[in-house]
Symmetry: C2
Subunit: 218 residues, 2 copies
């Protein structure tokens, strides 16, 4: 019987490098997949439906919320984003570990529904590093008010780190990916995750006549 | 400030290869040390006091039990074995992770005293494998009744696996050492183990004036 996959929740403030981290993590850990989110926003140039996101109309997204189809969802300035419960469940049932990259509110929603979810928070080494990284990007996308908003959000988010199981500092990307990798691999050895394997091994002990130390009748 | 080391408890039935496993694990994980036990038995040829064990007289061992000096201790056919609380504490305070190789009763004693101890159980792949390994050794040390006794003990021990945090199957030694290594490294990223580091990072966020996104006065 195939083992049931893990559900791993990863949160990090904007600018912490979580997209790069998770991309490399998934490459390095066989059997780990990243969950594909649903969104109601229109695809950007180059984005493909079913690859980058599942793109659905806002009305359809609202129906899915009503139907309880999401493990977590959020309304980000009028655009919906969410994680499909059925798709996640299919992966886990097939023995794949699934990683969700979601914010602290989403993480809280998931943990309420999925008791055995494993939650990891990625911290920048300091506020200064985060600010520098966001400013480094800001020529492309961030105007000053957007930068301020992200820094304020980050400040609130890092206060939630105590709600997580693990914390990893992203001071150096390869070291950080390594630490994430150790966490996923260690979680595969948790008693809860090993239940099926344990049962199989323990049964070989129970089948033995203790007085003889050999295989018994039953 | 130095981080406080982990306390890792490792149990495995006799014949599972735990001595070899832990030897290799300690070689491969910098900052991890194996705890040296106290015993009241006399040294075997080649054994050195303070290297293999702390050898103490039975009366002294009993005094130490009375004084609460052991994290756990056991009377094995009239010979005492125990783990010193003070020595373990010194290592952890110095930021070293300590691994104790102890049986299921000892593990239970430790967990009662040390709430944040991490417990790992190493299982053989099957009863048959364990029996074969013990028979393979038996020319040296095991007479048939000793073999039967160890198999019966193993049978009782594997039933306690649910009391542990992690389970690792020793089907192949290098793979098993890898899994143990992932567990130790992942536990270093636990929120509890990262408390000091988290505080340092979060303080850099709290020192900021949120309206400005720059270092504030306090």
């Amino acid at each position: 019987m195939s083992r049931r996959g893990l559900l791993i929740v990863l949160s990090a403030p904007s600018g912490t490098g979580k997209t790069t981290l998770v991309g490399r993590l998934v490459e390095r850990v066989p059997g780990l997949v990243r969950s594909r989110s649903y969104t109601s926003r229109v695809p950007r140039p180059g984005e493909e439906n079913g690859v980058d996101y599942h793109f659905v109309a806002p009305a359809r997204f609202r129906d899915m919320i009503e139907a309880g189809d999401f493990l977590e969802w959020a309304d980000v300035f009028g655009r919906f984003y969410g994680t499909g419960a059925a798709e996640t469940e299919r992966c886990r049932a097939a023995g794949l570990d699934v990683v969700l990259v979601i914010d602290v509110q989403g993480a809280r929603q998931v943990r309420r529904r999925v008791r055995d979810a494993v939650a990891i928070f990625v911290l920048p080494p300091s506020f200064g590093t985060l600010e520098a990284r966001l400013r480094g990007r800001s020529e492309d996308v961030l105007d000053p008010s957007d930068l301020q908003r992200r820094l304020c959000t980050a400040r609130r988010e890092v206060e939630m780190v105590g709600d997580y199981d693990y914390v990893v500092i992203n001071n150096e990307i390869d070291a950080c990916v390594d630490r994430l990798r150790h966490i996923v691999l260690a979680e595969r050895s948790r008693v809860g995750a090993m239940r099926e394997t344990i049962r199989t091994v323990v049964e070989t002990f129970e089948a033995v006549d203790p007085a003889m130390g050999r295989q018994g009748q039953g």
